[in-house]
């Protein structure tokens, strides 16, 4: 979706602000928002792609005004309601009003190291041979889906070159919307600065994105 999360190439945000001490968390609630989001993710009630979509679906003004873990917390609120695990009335009340659903998995403290070490690899057996090889010229498609996509606006309708192949990976545009993993070949596509940004762009610049095969046409 063309939401506020799609920030590449925007102006007006000012300089990058670095904090003197760079705390990982700025308040106890940020710590909890982080931990509870990971713990709920481990229940398998939704995909990582769905959780990204929940965050980017915040109204743009809210997204841009919120701090990072505020976005996570509000995204998690949406996810638990959408999944039917918590009622909006319960969020409003600030407490559980009904017994919980039965989840397939609940993460225990003991299971944390193994769960983190396992992670969530997204590479899958490819169903077909890759359409493109390293060095091929490709053009990204012009798409504007209302749902989740990982093709940023700045890189649509642009011509680049396949720089890397990564095998087949889970396709977020489907997986975020209960469309299954629908794996596709994934490539790193490299564009020149002038191709992306036009006149005045740094001629030494290249920018690459990781792009699924259905984002690409032969150029």
């Amino acid at each position: 979706m063309n939401g506020a999360q799609d920030l590449g190439g925007m102006h007006g945000f000012g300089p990058v602000v670095r904090e003197a001490d760079e705390p990982l968390f700025h308040a106890p609630w940020e710590r909890r928002a982080f931990g509870v989001t990971l713990a709920m993710g481990a229940t398998g009630s939704w995909t990582l792609d769905a959780s990204r979509h929940a965050r980017e679906s915040l109204p743009p003004a809210e997204y841009l005004c919120a701090s990072y873990y505020e976005i996570w917390a509000k995204g998690l609120e949406r996810l638990v309601v959408q999944a039917g695990l918590v009622g909006a009335d319960e969020l409003a009340a600030g407490r559980s009003l009904r017994p919980g659903a039965r989840l397939a998995r609940v993460l225990s403290a003991e299971a944390v190291p193994a769960a983190l070490a396992r992670g969530g690899p997204t590479e899958r057996e490819p169903a077909a041979a890759p359409r493109f090889a390293v060095g091929d010229r490709v053009r990204t498609r012009v798409i504007n889906p209302a749902g989740h996509t990982r093709l940023p606006r700045y890189a649509r309708g642009k011509t680049g070159e396949i720089a890397l192949r990564h095998g087949a990976h889970v396709f977020p545009d489907a997986n975020a919307h209960r469309g299954g993993e629908a794996p596709q070949h994934l490539y790193t596509v490299r564009f020149t600065g002038p191709e992306l940004w036009g006149e005045g762009a740094d001629p030494t610049l290249t920018v690459s994105i990781d792009a699924w095969e259905s984002y690409l046409d032969a150029a």
Binding site: G8, M10, F13, T43, A109, V112, P113, G119
Partner: protein, 223 residues
């Protein structure tokens, strides 16, 4: 117009919940506390697991991991070659694996090419080697400008590269995570891996910094 351009129903539903649910004015602190306690009451999460998750990234996983990877790549040509060929496997030999590092790619700075990593769409970052990202990495100024004006961003970090050094920006739009291997500083012959790792700043592994030269202040050593 097709459904492609409509807001999908689940989003609309969530909006409704926000309208009819609690007030937007409720402080986020209270909202997060309430959310956790609801999820605990319902048996979905265990507070001890949340504690363990937090503790992992506050105390055990951080940029020292990546610094050790880089130091080894500087010292050991075979490891460097392995890192270039399959970074996930090479890094796993050092014990750094798992979440947000499942598919690693290492990119090597040279006098001709400087690499810079960003995630314009969210905050993708190689946790097993760098820990959790700093706030600026997740912020709108960095995400918006790194792909269009990387030299301007680098200048704000105090990094001014020759115009002949090409900039290679990697926007992490998939589950591939990029680790920048900075150039080995001059005057580091004979240092062991631990001493070399001391020179590898976090920013140098994102591309917003360079490795430190021996003898320079270590004050920014964790960056």
């Amino acid at each position: 117009m097709t459904a492609l351009h409509q807001d999908e129903p689940e989003t609309a539903h969530a909006d409704e919940h926000d309208d009819h649910g609690h007030s937007h004015l409720e402080p986020i602190e209270a909202r997060v506390k309430a959310l956790e306690s609801i999820l605990v009451e319902k048996g979905y999460v265990e507070p001890a697991a949340i504690d363990a998750l937090i503790e992992t990234y506050e105390t055990r996983v951080g940029p020292r991991n990546g610094a050790r990877v880089v130091a080894r790549a500087w010292e050991d040509p075979e490891f460097r070659a392995a890192l270039a060929a399959d970074a996930t496997a090479a890094i796993a030999t050092m014990g750094f694996v798992g979440r947000q590092g499942e598919h690693m790619v290492a990119v090597f700075n040279t006098p001709e090419e400087h690499h810079l990593v960003v995630c314009t769409l969210c905050s993708c970052y190689p946790w097993p080697v760098l820990g959790l990202p700093p706030t600026w990495y997740k912020s709108a100024p960095y995400r918006s400008r790194a792909v269009m004006d990387p030299r301007g961003v680098l200048a704000e970090f105090g990094v001014v590269l020759p115009e002949t050094t090409a900039i290679r920006v990697w926007d992490s739009t998939a589950e591939v995570r990029y680790l920048v291997v900075p150039m080995r500083p001059e005057g580091t012959e004979g240092l062991d891996e631990e001493r070399l790792a001391d020179l590898v700043t976090r920013d140098s592994m994102i591309g917003t910094g360079l490795a430190r030269t021996p003898g320079t202040a270590a004050g920014e050593g964790t960056r």
